[in-house]
Symmetry: C2
Subunit: 216 residues, 2 copies
DNA sequence: TGTACATCAGTGAACGCGCGTTCACTGATGTAC
DNA sequence: TGTACATCAGTGAACGCGCGTTCACTGATGTAC
């Protein structure tokens, strides 16, 4: 038996990562199999020994983010510790960060590909749902009790994070995009109970200043 | 001069409407010019006497919704009166309604096409921005003063409406999608100051019941 | 250690297809008389 | 009212191109001796 045991697994991983980068940048339909395989250092012909079809790749790519234990590497430099009690505000800040806004290639697929998924197979939608539920679940566990249902708040917070990023990337004016991210971040932090209301009213607290200075 | 004066304007409108329906359903890239022209009752060859290129159509299609005085027709059966003082909650309810969720063809392009736009030309992004700003502006004017900046709240509310719909359409489970819309609607109404907080805590008010009965 | 070999990962030519775009032409139209 | 006509909206064949997918083949690999 030629080739080491883990060879195919390793190559398949390279193909998925190449596809993830290209899909994030150009969408499902504007990426050819030849491009994906070239990104993995291969030629197009070998693709079908790894996947039944192009659309089968969609599901695989969606699953490799957020639910993947290595997802943190996608946001290098942004600290998110899933074990921390502070994970809620950390996720919100990382998700709506300038870094995530700019790094389209390593973006969360919920930001880069949601409408592509809504036009895709039930398999892709299920994979998307899993990623979204994982995010809601993290936010829910971390949110502060305030009399309103935690789950509903967590769902709205997640939708706000995704929506804020999707819209910020679709508008032309960069200043407005930044303003939108900040507005969504502020409201999202309040929803989870991680933000002092007084800070939102005047924006003069230390934390607000720090956030602005860091250009988060 | 053969053909009446308004003939070309009328036909151009038909092409744009056909494109809007097809783009909403399949995205920019999965719709051919032949399909668009067929939807307007024409053949593909005539397209280039109306538009310089396919991508020029994107801008035109984005502009025809929301900023268009006739946009209301897109949500038949959902009452939204832009002159009303109550326009904020009306827009939120209509936007996150089941009807809007289901009627992909006549959907707001911000829900159906945001990632397509983020990969498109600056022209398309500017058109998207105009639509989004129009929505923010309506929400801002209608929102209730509560000590926090109205504009930031309006921006977050709009992002929440768009994000909630985008995610709801991308997940498989219909019940979860409904749950998500409701959660986003509830939070969005609170953000604008149009919702009694007490109603959110137990969901037993008349209004909550009416909303549920109407399956909004 | 060196060599011959079976395996199978990867190659690239070929397929049918539909796309965006162009253009010479057709024929429906309102006008002039 | 009826007819001949100039205009130009719309047609459809044709173009080059890149796509997803297939498949006969090549050659790199680890193993057996």
């Amino acid at each position: 038996m030629p080739y080491a045991a883990g060879h195919r697994t390793e190559i398949k991983g390279k193909i998925v990562q190449s596809a993830r980068r290209l899909f994030n940048r150009h969408g499902f339909d504007n990426v050819s199999i030849a491009q994906i395989m070239a990104g993995a250092g291969l030629t197009h012909g070998g693709f079908y020994s790894y996947f039944k079809s192009k659309s089968e790749l969609y599901t695989e790519v969606l699953g490799c983010f957020f639910t993947d234990p290595n997802w943190k590497s996608c946001w290098e430099g942004v600290e998110v510790d899933l074990a921390s009690a502070d994970v809620g505000p950390q996720v919100v800040r990382a998700y709506l960060s300038r870094q995530h806004f700019e790094d389209v290639e390593n973006s969360c697929p919920m930001v880069a590909l949601p409408t592509d998924v809504s036009r895709s197979s039930p398999h892709a939608k299920r994979a998307f749902e899993t990623v979204f539920e994982a995010m809601v679940s993290v936010l829910e566990r971390s949110s502060v009790e305030n009399g309103r249902p935690r789950r509903a708040r967590a769902q709205a917070t997640a939708a706000l994070c995704v929506g804020g990023m999707v819209v910020a990337r679709a508008i032309l004016n960069r200043v407005r995009a930044d303003e939108l991210r900040q507005a969504c971040m502020s409201v999202a932090l309040t929803l989870g109970g991680w933000h002092d209301e007084s800070k939102l009213q005047n924006g003069k607290s230390k934390r607000s200043h720090r956030l602005r200075a860091e250009k988060v």
